[in-house]
């Protein structure tokens, strides 16, 4: 350390200790927020139902309801020409400026810690989630979390404190922090540039999965972070599926059910903490990720053998033109505040020139009541300053999508990242 800095280090003023009472109060406030699902309680506005009246084409992708907003239909001048010829039934073709919304049910173990840092109580925490993430990571996203009734830890009673207070819905802004995640990005624009070759993808899982410990587990865990609340083009989905299969210890199990009761093929690997087997469940036809499951497979583990400690289902993936109204009042996200003005407030709202995305087609399948699609609304704008180029949009889209990140980029760096809201690594020993 340089002298001038050392002087300050040695001259640091006394710091009064954190008073026990104030500390407990702050901790409790945090826990209250956590128990309420992250924030405010708000009644879902009418906007939802209104949005559903407009055309949303719902198709089934291997049991996953995929709402196709503006796919090859409707008068959207910017898209119909390019996408109608390209549309593969059941595949989404998100464009920059749009958002991918993933809706899911989740159940994970929840552990509260005592002040000594030791586990004080545990139960299974459940929630219903919707997450909106910018297709190219350039705009802030949004996360809705709705509490679901918690379940006791297998073989135990539900802790008294968990019996109430789980209801409620929170809305949180997910700030875009361009450049922050680098190769850990999980936005569509980035994921669609990944190799469609299983061997290359496998190498990547190991490279980014982290060093030390159980590297096979880390690789698997990294794969999961790429799948959770994301959307990958089919080529990358299939390659990732094949890559995961080659991880030592992984085996395929047929007929594993996700939280929605849909059966799929699970790529399962034992070896996590608590004597569980981690199972990533896929649709065997489309390789869509259905959800994950954690099953206790060892005797004498933290829960009886055969019990389930985590279970999720990604119910639907849709492409929408903009965030729902709640975005305006969502909790801010200051997690990438420093020198990043975009992160502070609501997501961008100014219209994007040249990217109108009308969706006038009537629903051809059952309308998805939840799929928010505003019609003829200008997409959130793609920022115009250019820094470094972002990865191209998927190559199967014949002509460049308007406003693709190659043509415009985000203010600070086009290496935009989006929240890895999903990855809930269950285990890293």
């Amino acid at each position: 350390m340089d002298d001038e800095i050392r002087v300050f280090a040695e001259g640091r003023p006394e710091a009064p200790p954190y008073g026990a009472e104030a500390r407990a109060r702050a901790r409790e406030r945090l826990l209250t927020q956590a128990r309420s699902g992250g924030g405010r309680f708000r009644v879902p506005p009418l906007g939802w139902q209104a949005a559903a009246a407009f055309g949303v084409t719902v198709v089934l992708v291997g049991g996953v309801a995929v709402a196709l907003s503006n796919q090859g239909a409707g008068p959207g001048p910017a898209t119909s020409a390019t996408q109608s010829a390209e549309v593969t039934p059941g595949e989404l073709h998100p464009r920059p400026g749009q958002f991918i919304m993933v809706e899911s049910e989740t159940m994970y173990g929840s552990f509260t810690m005592g002040a000594d840092g030791k586990e004080a109580s545990r139960h299974l925490y459940r929630s219903h989630r919707k997450i909106w993430q910018s297709v190219d990571g350039s705009a802030s996203g949004l996360l809705m979390m709705e509490g679901r009734e918690p379940r006791p830890w297998p073989g135990e009673e539900l802790p008294e404190a968990e019996k109430t207070g789980w209801q409620g819905t929170s809305w949180d802004t997910l700030a875009a922090c361009p450049g922050r995640l680098g190769e850990y990005r999980t936005d569509y624009a980035y994921l669609s540039t990944l190799p469609a070759d299983p061997a290359a993808l496998r190498e990547r899982l190991y490279r980014l999965g982290g060093k030390g410990g159980d590297r096979d587990f880390s690789a698997l865990d990294h794969a999961r972070s790429m799948l959770t609340e994301t959307y990958l083009p089919r080529a990358q989905r299939q390659a990732l599926f094949e890559a995961i299969k080659t991880i030592p210890g992984v085996r395929a199990k047929q007929g594993v059910e996700d939280a929605a009761g849909r059966e799929g093929v699970a790529l399962a690997r034992p070896g996590g903490e608590r004597g569980v087997e981690n199972q990533l469940i896929f649709d065997p036809e489309t390789f869509m990720y259905l959800g994950e499951r954690e099953e206790v497979v060892a005797e004498g583990a933290a829960a009886p053998k055969g019990s389930i400690l985590a279970l999720t289902a990604q119910l639907s993936v849709s492409v929408v033109d903009r965030l729902p109204e709640e975005a305006a009042q969502a909790q801010g996200d200051a997690s990438c505040m420093p020198e990043s003005e975009v992160s502070a407030g609501a997501p961008p709202q100014s219209p994007a020139p040249g990217t109108p995305t009308a969706t006038a087609s009537p629903a051809t399948a059952s309308p998805a009541p939840d799929a928010p699609t505003e019609t003829a609304s200008p997409a959130p704008h793609a920022p115009t300053e250019i820094a470094s180029p972002a990865p191209d949009m998927p190559t199967e889209t014949a002509s460049p999508a308007p406003g693709a990140p190659t043509a415009s980029a985000v203010p600070e760096s086009a290496d935009a990242d989006m929240p890895t809201a999903g990855p809930v690594p269950t285990v890293t020993d």
Binding site: A15, R23, G38, T112, L143
Partner: protein, 191 residues
Amino acid sequence: MPDTLDDSTLIARSIGAPESFAALFDRHADEIHRYAARRLGGELADDVTGEVFLVAFRGRARYDPSWPDARPWLYGIATKVVSQHRRAERRRTAAMARVSVERPGTFDDRSADRVTAEQLQPRLARALTRLSAAERDLLLLVAWADLTYEEAALALGVPVGTVRSRLHRLRVKVRRALGGTDPFAEEPQHG
């Protein structure tokens, strides 16, 4: 077991199980409080610490999973929250800078060629007032929070190169403010 998980795993887990975030508080609250208290005093530090963890909690989905240690991230948030109390910090710094004036005997008492931290503080406080807010944030993250340059860069959301050049500039300013000599040595002018 959860208390051995690294921060980034804990944070990722807290996406699905928000209450696990309390473990992050248990781990780092004292340290963040200490930092806030040095900058703002104990009373404000209580508020700041609570606020830092609430902000962090709401933003946990944005956490960069490639950093196993959450301290730089938390210090970054703390820096931002502290900056909302600039006036309080200025008052505090000004008060610290005055101490030597109010106790003129302080430097006379010194017997060795080294002053104590307490005696040094007024001079450091005066030096601090010559720094820009960004320079002060950086200096104190490195000097008081013991962050490495890389961690400070992460906390402040700037490239490491920016940290280095900013440090260079502020060192020059500090040296000038401290009289161009080793402040631990005898002070040549008054005393």
